[in-house]
Subunit: 209 residues, 4 copies
DNA sequence: GGATAATCGAGACGGTACGTCTAGTCTTGTC
DNA sequence: GACAAGACTAGACGTACCGTCTCGATTATCC
């Protein structure tokens, strides 16, 4: 994953532009045609690079495509964290999901592909977790934590569990190719905040039976 | 997908044993080596069959492997539905998840792979949804519905939403290769029933702020 | 080199047409563009075959091209041996060379290429000797032998040596890309029959000095 | 081919040692492993040089290897031309061939490879002709001419034809990987001087029939 | 002596052929 | 017509190599 190759200083250094061009070509082609339909030859040609320049930097087509999309994901997450200080938990959750859904409008198919690839490649899965999933988990957890506010109440909540439910639902819908819209975001937020029975007291007792 | 081939046609009838042997070979090989490492030639050889006997029955390697694992899933789901009528919702959810997690202990990696494949193959995704995801959604929804019992209270609950959260969490953990154990099952059940704040009233007000 | 593959009898037998089409494609392409400029992909495409069908029959591009031209050479040599019984040695030699030069007009470049390839591949060289060089050596030796006629005089002659000189000169000119014309044929024939000094007695004494 | 680069230009002059090291590395590696198995990278590494230092001096790998072996050939030919004035033609021819065969003992494989390469590279063929073949042709022609001695007799002889036969036989045997020994040298010399029938008068009449 | 310029080793670069592999289809002879 | 065996087309993969380009460092000549 070290793309600079500047450990030693002898020989011609790797050109950052070549690596960037390959990443961009990979990203564009996979978005346009899907992972399977894109070949390393196509990526190299689109980038104006030789195939060897590709394999000098990444061990396989899959690693390259992962990097191509993680690059993009990093940018988006940075923009997202410019939050104010929301006070309502349900609203916080819902708006976080809405914004995430919007971002997935473009990158969804590629992200799905990445998760799919990672299922056959443990190292890829590790990268995906470390560089895509975990940062977002933390971002959502922080947002939820801020919305709860009070320290004591926070301790009583299973924030990480809530984050798991939220992202679980997101991925489930994404992978099954079911729509991710604003209504769904509010529905998920409501469920997570209040549980299955909604804000009323009804299910309190039912579960206590 | 028609495995009998006994529509009253002329010629030698298809041998049921051949199809079964292929399914078993596919299941075993994929469990052992993973989807990508297994080739159609290997499956045919392991089953003592010709490749044509494979493609006479399934349209692609992916469909075959899907069938190989759905066969197993069908058996498991049949056993699971032989339930009585539990009354406690949280317990119902938890035990459903526990049993599902146990079944995934063996077939999990293959199921993950199927979902991964489906990301590049719409037809496979459709099959996966119709034959694996939907039946299980319905089974869980029915169990939840039965546990709630009362008709009016049922109407107030977002049962489908709860099912989405439960299976979402399951897939999320499965795809990220995070453990699926009994503690997790209870945690998910608790979250779904009571929401993030747990059975206490605290978060009612918080969300009402 | 066994192109039928019919040792066992199970499975689909190799198609003779495919092999023949590949040979012809290889021959035509190499004649047109030269050995280096022709790729296995081009040969397969021209033959309407897959690359695997090529590598199933030959171990490398070089082996294939050898076969492609030996096939042709065999045909030509068959036609050539339909000789009468000439009596004049110089004339016999000259006309043999003339006819050979004519045949090389078309296949010369390819034959040169084969000899070149054989310099890096001992197995290829062996094939070339056994299937191209030796048969022709024998054909010329037989023609020379017949032209001399008398048994006793034949024993006094170094027929094989003469054949070596004739073919040596041919290859030398061929490889150096120097013209092979009728005048050259007669010149070589004259030298071989009479030696450097020509039909006169002059050099007899010179060499006896 | 100018290896000094010292035309009075500015900048750091080319090191003669680097060029010599490259030549020696090329010669050794090609003798050891053959032309194809040796790469430019290997030559540069063996010489402790960069690849650019190689291509600064030669236009291609083939030209370099040609030079590597011509260097050796030049030395050999120089020694050879320090001859007295032999008078017996057959002996002159034979001893010339014997010495040439000895030299080929070491460099034969590489020379063969060069001729092979030249079949696909007209420019290389030209170099090979100008710098290897022609000088040797002239050397042999001069030796033969000197051996004949008498001006009038010389005019009656086809000296160039004899040289063609001698070198033709040499290359023919070399390329076919057939032994080049002393007996062969004398045999070729005898054939060239006297023709197929040997020193007797027998074939004079046969050819005159 | 400082500027200029060509050299040096090292190795990345574009391009492209090679030989291997796989999926899914087609063709044998046998049952 | 199903069956086992295996050849078939098509085309992607990752490696290898050539000849060029680029880097920092070195070594000469010229001003």
């Amino acid at each position: 994953m070290n793309m600079t190759g500047m450990d030693g200083r002898r020989g011609r250094p790797r050109s950052g532009e070549v690596g960037a061009a390959i990443l961009e070509a990979a990203r564009n082609l996979v978005l346009r045609h899907g992972y399977r339909a894109v070949t390393t030859r196509m990526i190299a040609a689109e980038a104006g690079a030789g195939k060897q320049s590709l394999y000098r930097r990444w061990r396989s087509k899959a690693e390259l495509v992962l990097d191509a999309f993680l690059e993009q994901a990093r940018i988006e997450i940075d923009e997202r964290t410019q939050e104010g200080a929301p006070s309502d938990l349900r609203q916080t959750l819902a708006s976080f999901l809405v914004r995430t859904f919007e971002a997935l409008d473009r990158s969804g198919p590629a992200i799905r592909t990445l998760m799919a690839l990672a299922q056959e490649d443990p190292e890829l899965l590790r990268s995906l977790r470390d560089r895509l999933v975990e940062p977002r988990r933390r971002a959502l957890a922080a947002a939820v934590s801020a919305a709860i506010g009070d320290e004591r109440r926070r301790a009583a909540c299973d924030i990480d569990g809530a984050v798991m439910l939220a992202y679980g639902a997101l991925w489930y819908r994404l992978l099954l190719d079911e729509p991710l819209d604003e209504a769904l975001a509010h529905r998920i937020a409501g469920l997570i905040v209040d549980g299955i029975g909604g804000p009323g007291q009804g299910n309190r007792r039912a579960s206590a039976t």
